[in-house]
């Protein structure tokens, strides 16, 4: 942002304001973008010459609202499962006794992200049934890596001398983990969760392929109907959801970050 060009000379009011803006720029810019984007999509809709198919595909009650809800729930459920699986797994793999397993597990998780998203959905579809839950499991497998890796990195970057000091004060290994390691690793873990969340919002746009619903339905309908208005609205809404979700995650990240770090 423009704030970056202001030199930090006299610590006057202006500089302080600039600093505050710079610190929170992310939190201010995103909601503005979402609102402006939403207004632009709406204006684009209103000024377009709409066909029967446009009206029907972009009907709020009939299509957009349920698809929006499906889309968000696909992203939230899959991210929740990713956290429930990847964070304990990351803790487990950084314990001294199990560390030698980490190469194997991380390799497996990497393969999850290496497979193209489309292929993963189709594989999940072949093994399981069609529907939202299949899509959710595919998303979980796809985004387990960033959370797992960040959990491990977050825990490993804790200064060993702090852990030793904790042990020296008489804390058990469990207490060291809960009171020292995890709080220090939280920012890195949350960054991973945020990445997973945003990837899942994007990926959920493909869930329609296997009957998982979501805004991908509108995008696909627009492509097949060759109606730009429908494609733009569907894709635009998906982007707005990703931005909004990322913004909420940023708020959560700030709230959960341990004080004094």
């Amino acid at each position: 942002m423009t704030a970056a060009t202001v030199p930090a000379r006299s610590p006057g009011t202006v500089t302080r304001v600039v600093q505050t803006v710079r610190e929170h720029a992310e939190l201010i810019v995103t909601p503005v973008l979402v609102v402006v984007g939403g207004i632009l999509l709406r204006l684009n809709y209103l000024r377009s010459d709409r066909t029967f198919a446009d009206e029907r595909a972009l009907s709020w009650e009939r299509n957009l609202k349920p698809q929006l809800e499906q889309h968000i729930s696909l992203a939230l459920w899959s991210t929740l499962f990713v956290i429930l699986i990847a964070v304990p797994l990351g803790i487990f793999l950084t314990r001294a006794r199990f560390r030698r397993l980490s190469g194997l597990v991380v390799g497996f998780a990497t393969s999850g992200q290496a497979v193209p998203a489309f292929g993963l959905l189709v594989l999940a579809f072949a093994w399981l049934d069609s529907g939202a839950w299949t899509a959710i499991w595919a998303l979980v497998f796809f985004t387990i890596l960033p959370v797992l890796r960040n959990t491990m990195v977050g825990l490993e970057q804790v200064d060993p001398s702090i852990i030793e000091a904790g042990r020296g004060m008489g804390l058990t290994t469990g207490q060291v983990l809960r009171r020292i390691e995890l709080p220090l690793a939280v920012p890195v873990i949350l960054a991973g969760v945020r990445t997973a969340l945003v990837i899942n919002v994007g990926m959920a746009a493909l869930a329609y392929l296997i009957g998982g619903g979501g805004l991908g339905q509108t995008i696909s309908a627009g492509i097949q109907l060759q109606r730009d208005l429908v494609v733009v609205t569907g894709a635009g809404l998906t982007a707005l959801v990703a931005l909004a979700v990322d913004w909420i995650a940023a708020l959560v990240e700030r709230a959960l970050r341990p004080r004094g770090l």
Binding site: T51, F52, A53, E55, R56, A57, N63, P66, F125, D129, S130, G131, Y208, L209, I210, G211, G213, Q217, T218, S220, A221, Q224, L225, Q226, V230
Partner: protein, 340 residues
């Protein structure tokens, strides 16, 4: 506001129709009569010779004279179009034309624009598409010759494009069930009733179908049933056939001449005339047509009159399920019909 828009559109349509009727004058009547009846009558006044006329067809494709013509043949991007364009290519070559093969050029609009721009010379398109998409008209006729003639007359006048021949097969939207499904064997009304009586029954649709003006809305209007969201599953087109055959979709949205219907033993739900017609015709620019009018008409009729839903689905099956080459399938078919 919507009502106002609809009203003004309806008025505009009405005005256009009145103008058209006035412009066509006497021709209009003879065009209406033509499908049912005496061929040859009024041939000079008729703008479009689209009725399937037994006399137009030939016994052997080598009778046709396309010598000196070079023709670039396009097609859309699905199996049926590959088969059709290859039937045309083999026929044109038998008649001595030099043919460029642009099969699988792209989607509907790609082919249409290439035709209008002169980048391709001929491809097959569907009367329902011509009427609703290209000419942006409402209320299509449910008689195939009438609809094709309507399309041809208007398209010739507006864009200089001719529609030749009309296939008995109708590749329209429809529903199918697994062959052994308890829901099999009814018509669309029976399907609507079955869905209401069995809350477990699912209907699988592709993404565009609920939104098309020639899609789900016609089913809803005809049966008075709006299928609840809980019973609808939106899937990718290709997946629906297999899921229907496995019984995971009680009813699957299908195209009525798709090769997977015979391949998977699906049972098509009987349509008493709800979904609009999609019979195929050869579309070419008028100036190319004028270079060999009899030969073009004879070729289109000879190929198309043999293709009913079962024949077309079977040819499609050979390509989509057996993996045969479309050109081999086309050649074999024309040979088996004694045309080569």
């Amino acid at each position: 506001m919507t009502i106002h828009r609809r009203l003004s559109r309806a008025l505009a349509g009405l005005a256009a129709l009145t103008l058209l009727a006035a412009a066509c004058g006497g021709d209009d009547d003879s065009a209406d009569d033509a499908p049912g009846g005496d061929p040859g009558d009024g041939a000079t006044t008729e703008v479009c010779e689209t009725a399937l006329d037994e006399d137009d067809g030939v016994e052997s494709l080598s009778e046709l004279d396309f010598s000196g013509l070079s023709v670039n043949v396009g097609s859309k991007d699905f199996v049926e179009q590959f088969v059709l364009s290859n039937l045309l290519i083999v026929g044109l070559e038998a008649g001595g034309a030099r043919v460029t093969d642009s099969t699988n050029l792209g989607g509907t609009l790609v082919n249409r624009e290439a035709l209008l721009a002169g980048e391709i010379d001929a491809y097959f398109d569907y009367n329902g598409t011509g009427w609703t998409v290209f000419l942006e008209q409402d209320d299509p006729s449910f008689e195939r010759e009438v609809l094709t003639n309507d399309v041809c007359v208007l398209d010739l006048e507006e864009n200089g494009v001719r529609w030749l021949g009309v296939s008995p097969f109708n590749n329209t939207y429809g529903f199918a069930t697994a062959g052994d499904s308890p829901a099999a064997g009814g018509d669309l009304q029976a399907m609507a009733d079955y869905i209401e009586e069995n809350p477990d029954a699912t209907v699988c649709l592709e993404t565009e179908f609920p939104n098309r003006p020639d899609g789900m809305v016609l089913f809803e209007e005809a049966t008075g049933t709006i299928i609840p969201d809980s019973q609808i599953e939106t899937l990718e087109t290709g997946v629906i056939y297999e899921q229907t055959a496995r019984g995971r979709c009680t009813f699957g949205e299908i195209f009525t001449t798709d090769g997977r219907i015979p391949a998977l033993g699906l049972e098509v739900v009987e349509d008493p005339g709800v979904f609009i017609l999609y019979n195929v015709s050869l579309t070419i620019k008028d100036d190319l047509y004028q270079q060999a009018p009899e030969a073009w008409e004879a070729l289109a009729d000879t190929i198309l009159e043999r293709l009913d839903n079962d024949v077309m689905a079977e040819l499609n099956r050979k390509v989509s399920a057996d993996g045969q080459d479309p050109k081999a399938v086309a050649t074999e078919f024309l040979q088996s019909e004694g045309l080569l």
